[in-house]
Symmetry: C2
Subunit: 253 residues, 2 copies
């Protein structure tokens, strides 16, 4: 039965004063969420915390216990404000060590770039017992420790690390979705949405209103792991909207 | 003394499966963070949680106790997946009631739009004892209950609610910032950044690397509440980068 399948979940800790100050628009939540979805893993919670060892450690310890996988982004560079490795090692109760393979990677990367200085060597430090996640762009690897995946904060570099992990994590059934857009106030179809969801077991309908140039519209996102159930639910909802003379736009608006 | 001033903090709970699925790129974190900064309030933590009453309630109760202010976004519309009001009321241990002023606002708004149906009236429901936050766009108000501010999820509507709150919350000294960009690997100046921060009391320097078209660069963000200290630190760092023949770009890259 679909309903009895094991569901794999993940959490994400975004480490960064720059997100909390509003200066930088986070891109990693959406990127990691989408990537996890393809792996059959559901992102269940995100916490954005300050560059503060206590805050990082507390979030990591709660979330690594509550989920199959925990990802972190940010704070693994060479500068004084990069404290993620030390904070996580402290939270895990393990020491910090220079990973020999990470050191070798950095020596190669910096050979033609001024050499591996003491500050650059900081990027080879890992919580004791960790493995590495390749970084195809700038050498400095990500870190895997148990079910924790410590990733870069720069979105392109994070993307490369996710690529390196693709297909390596155990997941469950992939959550499929179809989006139907409509120029309608969601309040006009609230009861229809509720009834349609109830009539289609194993399907969830989310209603996401928007308001553009003075006009109200909404995208209705149907989610299910079973493609036939998904298609049947989407077909029913589209037909009902068309019958109201408010045409359904496949793929959303 | 600057250091002894009271610091006002806030947290944000983003409620939304659509963010956790990766389908929608969140815009409210950056928007609310920036707005809070201008009010002299520092955003210290964000949690993105699913459309799940238990998850919403747990996050709200932890964060409202830990901070001066707690904001939430999302889940206050008229559809079956809008459960924020009920979840927060349950977490607070209070009932849910129709707010008479909210009902009057919605009656006016929907008078020419098909009338106030039962589903639309859901948007007048508040945790008992709440006040309203005006929504200039679509009628349905936000909600204030104690130090909790329950806001819309649609970013333009959230923006209108923030406008309505501007200047009404007690805050402290505004955190000022200057950004200096440089086409340099941050690892080349990691020690310089650390020393510069240490030499300027009351200033913090964040280093935010980027990687564009195969080139490494970084933005250095200096933060302080005192404008003179901020200017002195920025001047020292700019001068040091120029002296390395790596010109500092005021305002960032």
């Amino acid at each position: 039965m679909i309903e009895s399948q094991r569901i794999y979940t993940a959490a994400l800790v975004v480490i960064g004063d720059e997100i909390l100050s509003g200066r930088t628009q986070d891109k990693n939540i959406a990127q990691i969420a989408g990537w996890l979805g393809v792996q059959g893993i559901r992102l269940r919670e995100v916490r954005v915390v300050a560059d503060d060892a206590g805050a990082i450690g507390a979030a990591v310890n709660v979330l690594r216990a509550a989920h199959d996988y925990l990802f972190t982004t940010g704070g693994i560079g060479p500068t004084h404000d990069d404290i993620t490795v030390d904070a996580i090692a402290a939270a895990l109760g393990v020491g910090v060590e220079v990973h020999p393979e990470a050191r070798a990677i950095l020596e190669g990367y910096y050979e033609s770039r001024g050499g591996l200085t003491e500050m650059r060597l900081r990027m080879a430090r890992v919580p004791a017992g960790a493995e590495l996640i390749p970084n195809r762009y700038t050498g400095a690897p990500g870190i895997r420790w148990g079910n924790i995946f410590i990733m870069a904060g720069v979105p392109q570099i994070t993307a490369g690390m996710l690529d390196a992990l693709t297909g390596t994590l155990e997941g469950g059934a992939v959550m499929l979705s179809e989006t139907i857009g409509c120029w309608i106030q969601e309040s006009e179809v609230a009861e229809l949405l509720r009834q349609t969801e109830r009539a289609h077991e194993g399907c969830q309908i989310g209603s996401y209103p928007f308001w553009r140039e003075g006009k109200s519209g909404a995208n209705f996102v149907i989610r299910a792991t079973d493609p036939d159930r998904l298609a049947a639910c989407a077909s029913d909802l589209s037909g009902a909207l068309d019958a109201l003379d408010r045409p359904a736009v496949a793929g959303g608006i």
